[in-house]
Amino acid sequence: MQIKLQQVEKYFRLNNERIKVVDNVSFSVEQGRCSALLGPSGCGKSTLLAMIAGFFPPDGGKIEVEGRISLCLQRDLLLPWRDLLANVCLPVEARDKSALPAARQEAEQYLPLFGLEGFGGSYPAQLSGGMASRASLLRALMAGGDFWLLDEPFAKLDALTKEDLQLWLRGIIDRFHPGVLLITHDIDEALLLADEICLLSPRPCRLLARLTTPRGRGMEADAQELAALKAEIRRLLGIAA
């Protein structure tokens, strides 16, 4: 199973002008691997993700998705009238209502792992930002996708919470090893979580490079190597070191 993009192009219309937002992007995400799409804000990363999720088709090229997709967007999109368990089990409920009781039990068992113990009956408005993000990921897990598409899931959180959650997410990925496509503009986040980094240019979004991280080679990262890789990424993105 894999997600495969071949020469994908996308245009948007702005004030009667056709603007190229995605230019000839090809890459693939393998099952059980974590690929990061790393690029500056507004480069078209989210547009790529939206096309992979099937929100709208590309104008050129091909997107093949084998297997099912679980989504996790910048907004948690939890439904305010459902409690946490009802929210995370909604994908199961939609697919097969008879599987709901079992799913609720399963989700309840995952609550501690997601830092949500005792909050199964809480409503989204009662959760903190970090908890809502984790709930959103639990929903992605419960949706049972072979691939998790994560669009800057921690974008709205403060730096401290974010760092904790990145480490936590790494643990979650190691435990459930789904295929992951992580969208981020945070170099450290990409280095921490991804096996492979697809570096994207500012608009129109082009593939600058595909880099394998130490994590992707199954090695423990040493600080020197990470620093070198980070410098390389900054150079490719055209950011002064």
Binding site: A53, L71, L77, R139
Partner: protein, 259 residues
Amino acid sequence: MRRFKQTDMLYPLLGVMLFLLLWQAAATWLVAREWILPSPLAVARAFAANMPLLLRHSLYTLGEAAAGMALAVLLAMIIAWLLSLSQAMRKAIYPLLLASQMVPIIVLAPLFIIWFGYGLLPKILVVVLICFFPAAINILAGLNASDAEMLAFYSTLGLNKRQLLFKVRLPQALPYFFSGLRIAAVYSVMGAVIGEWLGAQAGLGLLLVRAQQSFDLPLAFAAILAIIIWSSLIFLLVALVERRALSWQHYLNSEKWRV
């Protein structure tokens, strides 16, 4: 639920008391003629003395208001659904809707009587005409409250069109629906009274006309009091149902505690 505080009742009561005192003083010393301005006490006496009469006429008015409101909400739902289908549909229907609210009811009601006679139907139609618009506009706003990203997201999670409607769009529209319903509730009894005013065999509107024509102002004011009481009760009923149906909403307003 929000705790009910004693001051919640205190200030409205004080306001009403003050108003009644001023009114009583004005009626007693300033005007001093009951057939021009009856005092609150005179109105209360008339209300108590004519209770059976008021109740009998109220039944007609309330029946018209209830039937009109039910029809109005049904019509509002259908119209809101049609409008939410497509831009073209919205553009085609919206001017007609607006126009329906611009024609003075006082002009339309007599026409209803010419077309449909002196029975209940023309009164119910007046209520429908007054009530459906705020309900329809609010329901439409509610149906549009689910943004495109949200719907795309949930359809990717596996919800089909029907499930999107029942599990996402309709629950999201419910608070808007109740806002519309509350406005409709306030106007429903008034609508029925306007309908009766222009020709009826029974109802508070007819009672009002008769009382005024015989200069029995205390009775006229008693009828007005009855209209206010019934309108308030219907409003309260809607608010009560709303509170039960939207119990999750108070978490949005209550103080959040963050971990």
